[in-house]
């Protein structure tokens, strides 16, 4: 018997006024698998991520995450999903530790998790400095800590390697990479790298899916055509 997919979309669409942001997205992603979303700017990648994160409501189709129907049962999903977007979502006047403690209180997570997370991203030493004094790479590391603090089952990552040097990227791999064992949806501007770690690839162009298949079954030209 097939296990329930972690993420299941059918005909999902979203408008912005009269403009179509996303249209007719259908896919099923098993637990622990990685979906990579490719496409040029404005293709709807971030919109899709935000719908899965329960931040946006789909205007059409059905959307199920962790066996809960969005948006109706969104509250059931919120504590189990982690979003890492372009915005680190950290308060610049507070320190890393204070930010994570606040996050912990919102998610009902213990303080010891905060210390463990700081260690895991290698920010334990500089955790008491205000975020506005930190470099972008460090801010990104704290953002990863924030997104994974509550040990979500599903990770939604918008270009997770941005601002990270290879050393930092390697450090964070067990948290947000394939090694984490979590279900992941990753958007990427690097088709080759993205496809290498994906179980399923979705190509978006103008809000519409151009292709949706495991990388092995993909037509190599299809990916290039996406960005033309």
């Amino acid at each position: 018997m097939a296990a329930t997919p972690a993420i299941e979309l059918r005909g999902v669409g979203r408008r912005y006024g009269e403009r179509v942001a996303l249209r007719d997205v259908t896919l099923a992603l098993g637990a622990g698998a990685t979906l990579v979303v490719l496409g040029p700017n404005g293709a709807g990648k971030s919109t899709l991520l935000r719908i899965l994160a329960t931040l946006l409501r789909p205007h059409a189709g059905t959307c199920r995450v962790l066996d809960a129907e969005l948006p109706r049962e969104g509250h059931a999903v919120r504590g189990r999903v982690g979003l890492l977007g372009h915005d680190p979502l950290l308060y610049r006047d507070l320190s890393g530790r204070e930010n994570l403690r606040y996050q912990a209180r919102l998610f009902g997570v213990g303080r010891d998790r905060v210390e463990a997370a700081l260690d895991a991203v290698g920010m334990a030493r500089r955790a008491d400095e205000p975020v506005r004094l930190l470099s972008r790479g460090m801010v990104q590391r704290l953002a990863v800590a924030r997104a994974t603090l509550h040990e979500p089952e599903v990770l939604l990552l918008d270009e997770p390697r941005a601002n990270l040097d290879p050393g930092a990227a390697a450090l964070l791999e067990p948290l947000v990479g394939r090694g984490s064992g979590r279900t992941r949806v990753v958007t990427s501007h690097d088709p080759a790298g993205g496809l290498a770690e994906a179980d399923l690839a979705l190509g978006l162009r103008g809000g519409r899916p151009a292709f949706c298949a495991p990388p092995a079954e993909l037509d190599p030209d299809a990916v290039a055509a996406l960005y033309r």
């Binding site: 408008r15 006024g17 009269e18």
Partner: protein, 251 residues
């Protein structure tokens, strides 16, 4: 529900009743002993006020419906109701001012609680359209406007009570005479004027709804003809609610 249906009959009825009201005001209702002819502005001022207040509250009720159902047509109804009531509110302020000038020699008086309350309500609702216009996402615009309409609609009665309590009355309230204390001929004229004003509001409301609906359906048809992918000349920023094609087509 199409808004155009029965519009002609309604318009004729409105014109008829308003004409009757005019006739009554000029030929039937007696001249007021104190204020003379000018007092007759009361027959315009008070019905306008009553209808405007009901319109604001109706706008709030439609807004509640929109938030509950998500049907954009409720938002459109709310918008039109508030928009028309705002125009009537300006009328109330102007007629009130004229009356004050004729009766007391000043273009504005602070001891008329109804007039003062209307001023505050007007200032509040004057923000409605700028608020809508400043939010570009149509869905968010509708949602925020609805929240505003609900709170503002609940605020209207609260404001009236507060202002009424605050003003000292140095002379009896003449601007707002309750129906019960009017002599028969004045009461009849007043009622006819009130009915006329209500009909006028409803007719204008239906006209505006029908017009907006027609333009949405036109746009929806154009979209269908040119193909969904083509970008029509973008509708541009607008304070008025825009129905999506499915909502418009349902009419």
């Amino acid at each position: 529900m199409t808004y155009g249906k029965g519009l002609r009959g309604l318009s004729l009825a409105t014109v008829a009743i308003l004409t009757a009201a005019f006739a009554l005001v000029f030929f039937y209702a007696p001249n007021d002993a104190d204020q003379g002819f000018v007092q007759k502005i009361f027959y315009v001022h008070v019905p306008m006020g009553i209808v405007a207040l009901c319109g604001f509250v109706a706008g709030g009720i439609f807004a509640i419906q929109y938030l509950r159902t998500g049907d954009r047509r409720h938002d459109l109804r709310s918008y039109v109701a508030i928009h028309l009531s705002l125009v009537l509110a300006v009328g109330v302020l102007v007629t009130g001012s004229i009356w004050a000038r004729a009766s007391w020699g000043h273009w504005w008086v602070w001891d008329e609680p109804v007039l003062v309350s209307f001023l505050v309500v007007f200032l509040l609702y004057a923000c409605y359209q700028p608020l809508r216009f400043s939010i570009e996402d149509p869905e968010k615009q509708a949602r925020y406007a609805s929240v505003f309409a609900i709170v503002a609609g609940a605020f209207v009665p609260m404001n009236f009570v507060a202002v009424r309590l605050a003003e000292q009355f140095t002379h009896p309230r003449v601007l707002g005479t309750t129906g019960g204390s009017l002599p028969g001929s004045m009461r009849l004229t007043f009622l006819v004027a009130l009915v006329g004003m209500v009909l006028l509001f409803v007719t204008l409301w239906k006209y505006e709804m029908a017009a907006k609906n027609a333009s949405f359906q036109l746009r929806a048809l154009r979209r269908r003809l040119t193909g969904e992918d083509e970008d029509l000349v973008p509708a541009g920023r607008s304070a008025a609610p825009r129905l999506t094609q499915s909502a418009a087509a349902a009419d």
